[in-house]
Amino acid sequence: MYYVDLLISGVAFGCLYAMATMGLTLVYGLLRILHIAHAALFTLGAFVGVWVFNASGSLIVGLIVAILAAVVMGCLIYRLIYESILSQPPYVPLLASLGVLIFLQDGFRIVFGEEGLTVRHNPFYMANFTIGAFSINVIYIVMAGGALISMAVLAFFANYSRHGIAWRATVSRPLLAANFGVNVIQVRYAAFAAGSALAAIAGVLVALMNNLVEPHSGELISYKGLAIIVLGGLGNMQGAFIASLVLGIAESFGIGLAGRYVDRDAIAAVALIATLMIFPNGIGRART
C-alpha cells in the first residue's frame, strides 16, 4: 500500500511536471533557448487564476483568465526579449531569461504580497476518493487527468493537423519549413502560447493542491524543467513526457525511501549528469 501511495504521488507529480515544462520543450525545440523564465508563467497563471477565482467564485473563469494572462506574457517575453537576441551566443538569452524570471518573481511579490494568495473556497480541499482501505487525494487525479488530457490534445494537434505537422517540420528544419510557406514566426508564437497555457494550468493545479501561491512557486519547475528537456531528448515531446514521469516517480520513491540521505534536487541532478555523460547531445535521435 505504501509503495502504491508513493507511485500515485510520483505519477501525479510526473504528469504535473510534464504539463508545466512542456513550454520549455517547445521553445527549446524551436529556438534552442533555455527558457527558464517559463517558471514565472507557471506562477503568473497560479496567481491570476486564484485571484480571479476568489473574486468571481468560478474556477473555470479563473482558469481561462490565468491561461490568457500567461499566454500574453509568454508571447511578450518572446517579442520583447528573445526575438532580438536569437543570434547571440546561447548564454545571452539564458541570462536574459533568468533576468526576466527574477524580475517577474519580484513583481509578483510586489503586486500580490509576500505571503502570497490562498484559495478561498477550494473545491478540492480535503477531498479524497476512497475505495475500501484505499484513498487518493482528488487533486492528484485532477492533476494527472488534466495533464494527460492536455498532452493528448497537444499530441493530437501535432500529429494529425496540418498546422501541427508544419510546427514539427519547423522544429526539424526551420529555414526549410519557411520555404514551404510555413510562417516560422507564427509557429514560434504558437509554441509560446501553448507552453504558457499549459504552465498556467499546472500553476493553478499546484495552487489548488497547496491552497497557496507564493511569488517563488515557480522554482518548483525552473531547474527541473531544464533537466526534463535534456532527459527527454531536447524538444521531443514524448521524450519529455516520459522523462517527467520518470523524474516524478524517482523523486517520490527517493524521498520516501531515503529522504534522510537524499536531497530532492540532487535526484534530478544525478539523473541529468549521468544522462549527459552517456548521451552528450541528449537522449533521442541524433540530428543530421
Binding site: R168, V171, L176, A177, A178, N179, R285
Partner: protein, 234 residues
C-alpha cells in the same frame, strides 16, 4: 521566368557570388555547373531567400523579389530540392508531403499528394514510414515530391545525383522529365556534368562566384576545351 541582374550575394560580408547575370527561360531545364565553391548552391539559396543579397536584383516573372522573405517565395511558385535532401527527418513520408503543400488549400494539397504518389509509387508504399529511415534514393524522391507539392512554377534542385546509385538517379531524372511536360521550369545544380548536359536545355558555368561561360547544352559540349578547364568531364 527567373532573372538575376548583376546579382551579388554572400555570407557575413564575404561575397560568394559576384555580378551574376543569368536568365532562366520558362519551361526550360537550365543547369548550373562548376567546381566546388563556385557559388552554385549560394545562387540557389539566394533565390530561396536564405543568403543575404549584396547587390543587383532577382526578378521572378518580372517582379523584383530580391528582398522578399522566404515564406513568400513558396507562395509565388518557387520550390527547392535542397542539397542532401534535408527531409524533415522526424516526420513520416506523408507528413513531409503535407508540409510541402502547406501553402495550398487543403483539397488542392490532397489532390497534389496523389499526383506525387503516382509519380513515385515507392513513396505511396512507405507513406507512414519515418522519412529519416528511408534509403538515399527514396529520400531524394521524397525531396522532389515534397517540392512538387507546392505546385511550383520554378523548381530549384541542388545536387540531384549526389550519393545516389545510378539506378536511382535514372528514376529521379525520369520523373523530372515527366513533370517538365506540364511546363515546369527547372534549375539544376549538378556535379555529374555529363548527366546534366544530357538533359539540360541551357547551361551556365560558374567559377569563383562568376559566370565564365553559358550557352545551350550543345554549344557548351562543343566548347570542350574551355569547359574542361573549368569543370572537367566526369
Amino acid at each position: 521566368m527567373l532573372e538575376l541582374q548583376d546579382f551579388s550575394c554572400g555570407y557575413g560580408g564575404t561575397a560568394a557570388v559576384e555580378s551574376l547575370n543569368c536568365t532562366f527561360a520558362a519551361g526550360a531545364l537550365t543547369a548550373l555547373l562548376g567546381p566546388n565553391g563556385a557559388g552554385k548552391t549560394s545562387t540557389l539559396m539566394a533565390v530561396m531567400g536564405h543568403v543575404a543579397p549584396m547587390g543587383g536584383r532577382i526578378l521572378f516573372e518580372g517582379r523584383d523579389i530580391t528582398n522578399r522573405p522566404p515564406v513568400d517565395r513558396s507562395k509565388i511558385g518557387i520550390a527547392v530540392v535542397p542539397e542532401g535532401r534535408q527531409l524533415f527527418g522526424d516526420l513520416t513520408v506523408e507528413e513531409n508531403l503535407i508540409v510541402g503543400g502547406y501553402s495550398l488549400p487543403v483539397a488542392a494539397a490532397r489532390a497534389e499528394q496523389e499526383q506525387v504518389y503516382s509519380l513515385f509509387p515507392r513513396l505511396a508504399e512507405r507513406r507512414a514510414q519515418i522519412s529519416g529511415s528511408l534509403s538515399g534514393g527514396e529520400q531524394q524522391m521524397l525531396a522532389i515530391g515534397r517540392a512538387l507539392m507546392a505546385k511550383p512554377k520554378l523548381l530549384l534542385i541542388d545536387e540531384l545525383s549526389l550519393g545516389l546509385m545510378p539506378k536511382m538517379v535514372d528514376v529521379c531524372i525520369e520523373a523530372l522529365t515527366r513533370v517538365r511536360q506540364n511546363g515546369l521550369t527547372i534549375v539544376l545544380v549538378e556535379q555529374n556534368t555529363s548527366r546534366a548536359l544530357s538533359i539540360a536545355d541551357h547551361v551556365y558555368v560558374l567559377a569563383s562566384g562568376r559566370c565564365v561561360m553559358h550557352g545551350s547544352s550543345a554549344e557548351v559540349k562543343d566548347n570542350t576545351e574551355i569547359f574542361e578547364a573549368y569543370v572537367g568531364i566526369h
